[in-house]
């Protein structure tokens, strides 16, 4: 698309309108968006076209439309985080990610659906109803960034932004047959990203190809003085790596603990096949062990809720957002209690209570303190594994997309879906998921996960691009060509 824009074959306005038309025709089935900004997008597109007509030098993705996860503040546009407590709130400022998108001329189509405050793996926890997987509308599109992944897979948008706290970019990418990257922690600014778990949250790029993902990565990444945890170092050379797609001589480590029991046969088959292709492309496949990964899930469900219980204390009905029960004589505390009862959904309440418990005196050492120690052990496992391999790989998820409603009443089963993605967040390293094909038993997409050391994000793009090219020549066409055409099923 970028090439056609650059050559003048099409305009950003035409491209944006085409995507708005596509949204119009399939959105009632998919429900990827919470807010569609047709007017704003077309204005932005027109301004890019005008600049191009004047011969101004534009960034590679200028004029290409994008779907933005509703957890990132965009000035004067609704930003709800999938929660009733923020319904109607219009941020008075842009997050750094949004500022970078605008600087690069990337057109923002609207805000995508998500699990409330990014807590979930299915987008069922959105206060505004679930998003449907374009491969099978009765199934989940992953979560928390299910709106972004569904928008990509249904061709409503060619680019999307997600955020990943325990897998919320990679798991949705896996189950929708799209590409998603969680950059190194600190690689992309968190300024204006509504915080869920500050030490784990990371915004990142999503697209349908590895190269598009790399171009978007480059556009949003970089040091930001407004985020004290932003890394002050050059952006990894992800675009070059994605263009070269060279794995000759690279050592690829298969994590023994992230495979086997509990992984669906079709997931394992596609994973093994991908390894063979990478070996054929010149990579050396080795096995590595990370014995403490089995404790990652437990540690995550203490650390993330603990940080969330603190972060979400800001929703106090005083300065912005919902306020309930503000009648004459009602105390501030009573108003807070009532507002938070009405404003938060079940999963958010569950996690706030769990976090409050894990941080409470008498339990702190046993729960939160122990979880922090597990975090150290997981990071050490990664450090050790990266002495034996340049990147690590695993299936992104143990299964393909499950049915909407299937796990809604079993929080533990839902949490298990993130078993292979969580270790990456704990250590703050980079992780990518890209499509590895369809599982034989259900015909649904399978994700292949690549993990790279801190600020070596380019490595996952090298491996991803190599695998993508090998799979493409095997399939003869992109995987998404096999997805159902949503319009025809009307």
């Amino acid at each position: 698309m970028a090439a056609k824009l650059a050559s003048g074959e099409t305009t950003s306005v035409a491209l944006t309108q085409a995507h708005l038309d596509r949204i119009n025709s399939v959105e009632d089935k998919v429900h990827a968006f919470l807010f569609i900004d047709a007017k704003g997008a077309l204005e932005q597109a027109a301004s890019v076209d005008a600049k191009r007509a004047k011969g101004e030098k534009l960034s590679p993705l200028a004029g290409v439309p994008l779907a933005l996860k509703d957890v990132l503040a965009q000035k004067d546009k609704p930003t709800t985080c999938g929660s009733k407590i923020l319904e109607g709130w219009l941020p008075p400022y842009d997050s750094t990610v949004v500022a970078n998108l605008k600087k690069n001329g990337i057109v923002i189509l609207g805000k995508t659906n998500m699990d409330e405050f990014a807590m979930g793996s299915s987008t069922e926890n959105s206060a505004y109803g679930p998003t449907h997987n374009p491969w099978d509308l009765s199934r989940i599109p992953g979560g928390s960034g299910g709106g972004s992944s569904a928008a990509l897979a249904s061709f409503e948008a060619p680019l999307a932004i997600g955020t990943d706290t325990g897998g919320s970019i990679r798991q949705p990418a896996a189950v929708t047959g799209t590409v998603g990257v969680k950059p190194t922690y600190g690689g992309v600014s968190r300024y204006g990203l509504v915080a869920f778990s500050s030490s784990l949250d990371q915004a990142g790029p999503c697209a349908r190809t590895v190269l598009d993902t790399a171009l978007l990565h480059e556009a949003i990444a970089g040091y930001d003085p407004k985020d004290a945890t932003s890394i002050n170092a050059p952006i990894p050379l992800v675009v070059q790596a994605a263009k070269d797609g060279n794995v000759k001589g690279m050592k690829i480590g298969v994590v023994k603990e992230l495979n086997g029991d509990g992984y669906q046969p079709g997931v394992r088959a596609r994973f093994d096949e991908a390894l063979e292709l990478l070996a054929k492309a010149g990579a050396e496949i080795v096995e590595v062990s990370a014995p403490n990964f089995e404790y990652a899930l437990a540690a995550y469900y203490l650390i993330a809720p603990s940080e969330a219980s603190s972060n979400l204390a800001r929703f106090d009905a005083m300065r912005y957002g919902l306020r309930v029960g503000d009648v004459d004589g009602a105390s501030a505390e009573a108003v807070m209690n009532l507002t938070r009862e009405v404003g938060f959904g079940k999963e958010v309440k569950r996690r706030i209570i769990l976090g409050t418990y894990a941080l409470s005196s008498g339990y702190y050492d046993a729960y939160y303190g122990s979880a922090q120690k597990v975090r150290t052990l997981i990071t050490q496992d990664f450090t050790k594994a990266f002495t034996k391999a340049d990147v690590l790989v695993s299936p992104t998820c143990p299964t393909t997309a499950f049915k909407i409603g299937e796990k809604a009443n079993d929080p533990l089963a839902m949490y298990l879906n993130d078993i292979a993605t969580i270790p990456v967040n704990m250590a703050g390293i980079g992780g990518m998921s890209l499509p590895a094909g369809l599982a034989d038993e259900d015909g649904l997409p399978v994700g292949f996960q690549i993990m790279s050391p801190v600020m070596k994000d380019e490595r996952m793009y090298s491996v991803g691009a190599s695998l993508e090219a090998a799979l493409l020549s095997k399939w003869g066409a992109p995987l998404l060509d096999r997805a159902p055409t949503l319009e025809a099923s009307k």
């Binding site: 709130w89 008075p92 300065r319 706030i352 769990l354 418990y357 052990l377 533990l412």
Partner: protein
């Protein structure tokens, strides 16, 4: 086996400033028995000789230059307020009457 009684959940909900129905308190207390058992596994490997990690980056004291930069106007800052009065946030009564 770890568990949380209905009263303990009620106490935590109070600390977290969330009003909860009787039904919610009971169902959460049941769920927590399962969830706490699962997360308590961290104690199996968290021995005294392991240092805790609170953050993936070992940063400390990140400062920015002490330079005045433009910030939100009072109108912008108040734009999302549920209630306002005289260019201030209007909030419910905070102190008791006595």
């Amino acid at each position: 086996m770890s568990s949380l009684s209905r009263d303990e959940v009620a106490k935590l909900a109070g600390l977290a400033r969330i009003e909860m129905s009787e039904e919610e308190l009971v169902s959460l207390s049941k769920e927590f028995t399962v969830i706490l058992d699962a997360v308590a596994r961290v104690q199996e490997v968290a021995s005294a000789d392991v240092a805790p990690t609170s953050h993936p980056l070992s940063l400390r004291n990140v400062f920015r230059p002490d330079v005045v930069v433009p910030s939100l106007s009072p109108e912008q800052a108040l734009s999302g307020a549920p209630a306002q009065e005289e260019q201030r946030f209007r909030v419910p009564q905070i102190l008791g009457e006595e």
